[in-house]
């Protein structure tokens, strides 16, 4: 289910004093099975961009094709597409409303008009995906859980729709390192084992370096670069210019190269850097 964006522009409050163009002339193709990270400074249009992908926002100009079908065409059933393209908003825990965790997760499948057994199955599967024990949490109120647990319930609420494409807008914002790792490993499993196309908006270059197969770099509403992490993170200068920077490992690698240590210029994760440095070390000290 490839997603194509043709020259998509979105202007908020067009024709008033509050007018602001959030994204401008975006062209993209997202293929099945990719793990895409959308990165950019605050206000670069990341959130606006992802809200177009399931028809929550309509482009003021341009076109979005999902599986070749115009998302904003007159005959398009946008609710059907929202089931296929799941979107987890920033701080999704603030959208919880039901009395119990299970009921909240069931909200999406219920809107799809599924049978009670199917809904129950999906709730169980979704809770397993986010590592919440069904027997322990299903009947608890979502409002008495911890922040990290609430967020996992909210993500399960989207997973229960069983989307083919999963969009996450800063899923780790405001979480402690442990909660962050838990969410990221969960997303990685969904991509690797569940075959879900993942589009993740993120601030953290280090997270992105570890997970994504392709990066989309945004600045001031425009896509300024796309490519594999390897291709993007070697452009240290460009990344600093748009106030993004590169992963810590890539930064350290650049400093070492400046000092005259002969390292490749495309290392961006701690593992890669460690391997390269160990190899170097063996060269110079043969003992």
């Amino acid at each position: 289910m490839p997603i194509r964006l043709n020259n998509v522009t979105h202007t908020y409050s067009e024709g008033s004093a509050f007018q602001a163009t959030a994204i401008r002339g975006v062209n993209l193709t997202i293929e099945d099975g990719e793990f895409i990270a959308v990165i950019g400074h605050t206000g670069s249009g990341k959130s606006t961009l992802v809200q177009h992908l399931n028809g929550l926002l309509k482009p003021t100009d341009g076109q979005i094709l999902i599986d070749g079908e115009d998302l904003n065409g007159e005959k398009t059933d946008r609710r059907r597409i929202r089931q296929k393209v799941g979107l987890v908003f920033q701080y999704p825990e603030y959208q919880l409303f039901e009395e119990t965790v299970a009921k909240d997760i069931a909200f999406g499948p219920k809107n799809l008009g599924l049978s009670d057994e199917e809904i129950d199955q999906r709730v169980r599967r979704a809770m397993a995906h986010v590592h919440l024990d069904y027997d322990k949490y299903a009947e608890r109120s979502p409002f008495e859980l911890s922040g990290g647990q609430m967020r996992r319930v909210a993500i399960a609420g989207v997973l229960a729709m069983e989307p083919k494409v999963l969009i996450l807008d800063e899923p780790t914002a405001g979480l402690d390192p442990k909660g962050r790792d838990r969410i990221l490993s969960m997303v990685r499993d969904l991509h690797a084992q569940g075959g879900v196309t993942v589009i993740m908006v993120s601030h953290s270059m280090d997270d992105v370096a570890r997970l994504a197969t392709r990066l989309i770099v945004m600045s001031k509403g425009e896509v300024v670069a796309t490519g594999t992490p390897r291709e993007i993170f070697r452009q240290v200068e460009m990344m600093e210019k748009i106030h993004l920077g590169v992963p810590e490992a890539a930064k350290l690698c650049a400093v070492l190269r400046e000092k005259g240590i002969d390292l490749p210029d495309d290392l961006y994760t701690p593992d890669q850097l460690r391997e390269a440095l160990l190899a170097k070390w063996k060269e110079v000290s043969p003992c």
């Binding site: 004093a17 929202r82 603030y94 909200f107 809107n111 409002f143």
Partner: protein, 267 residues
């Protein structure tokens, strides 16, 4: 969906009218309303319309911004017009068709009431469009402060107003966000009968209430942390001062009232 609310919205540009003292603007708005009620002829309404138009030009506000504010009121306006047209039976008869009975007085009352209502809304929108909510509540607080003598909580009232106004855009934004999040989970807010629609609001209202209470708690804590303890001995960041501009504005309003009075006597 929530984009088209003009009433009570601030239009952030700089202009002569924007820079007037909020106290003066509030008083002048009241004077304007009184002036509208003094009008008894169509020529008078034309004068008022001219005044409103000039003011909106001086305030750098597109005139259609004001007329857009009337849109949500169209049913009330039509209802006012029809009620007055059909149900005042005094005066000379103009048309009599079966049970429909329109009199001269009924017609003129209908025109008067609906025009007054329109100018009332337009006049107050001019105030809110050109005055930021903070300035507005500052102005109201200052205008009410003489009543403190009689233990009237002017400061607390002003503070509550500022906070309430301050959180309207925040809550609107939050509503928009929650609505979108639930739509992403297949919620449908736009179709179905009245009962279904009311039910569909639950996933929107519960998170909104939870978040409003959370925000209220956070705000109270933040205010206490900065030693807020009410109105006694508080100084202000923005001290309101009457300037020459305010006198010019007062003179303009006096001119309008004078014109209306003179017009009432001549015609």
């Amino acid at each position: 969906m929530l984009k088209n609310i003009t009433m009570g919205q601030y239009y952030p540009v700089d202009s002569f009218v924007h820079r007037l003292d909020p106290r003066i603007k509030i008083v002048l708005t009241i004077a304007f309303i009184v002036a509208v009620f003094m009008v008894h002829s169509l020529v008078g309404y034309a004068i008022v319309l001219g005044f409103v138009y000039l003011t909106s030009r001086m305030a750098n506000i597109p005139f259609r911004m004001l007329t857009k504010g009337l849109k949500p009121l169209r049913f009330i306006l039509v209802l006012t017009f029809l009620l007055n047209l059909f149900f005042s039976t005094e005066g000379t008869t103009l048309i009599r068709l079966g049970f429909i009975h329109i009199t001269h007085q009924g017609l003129s009352q209908a025109v008067h009431y609906s025009l007054r209502l329109m100018f009332l809304v337009v006049g107050t929108s001019l105030l809110t469009l050109t005055t930021s909510p903070i300035m507005l509540s500052d102005g109201i607080e200052m205008l009410l402060s003489p009543l403190k003598r009689f233990h009237f909580p002017a400061h607390e009232l002003g503070m509550m107003m500022s906070i309430a106004l301050r959180f309207i855009p925040t809550l609107l934004e939050e509503t928009d966000k929650i609505q979108k999040a639930q739509m992403a989970r297949g919620a449908d807010f736009e179709s179905g009968n009245l009962l279904q629609r009311a039910k569909a609001m639950v996933p929107l209202l519960v998170p909104l209430f939870v978040s409003a209470f959370r925000r209220a708690g956070d705000l109270a804590m933040a205010m206490e942390a900065r030693c807020y303890h009410g109105g006694e001995h508080r100084t202000r960041l923005r001290v309101l001062k009457i300037t020459q501009k305010d006198f010019i504005a007062c003179a303009a309003m006096a001119g309008l009232i004078l014109l209306i009075v003179v017009e009432g006597i001549i015609l």
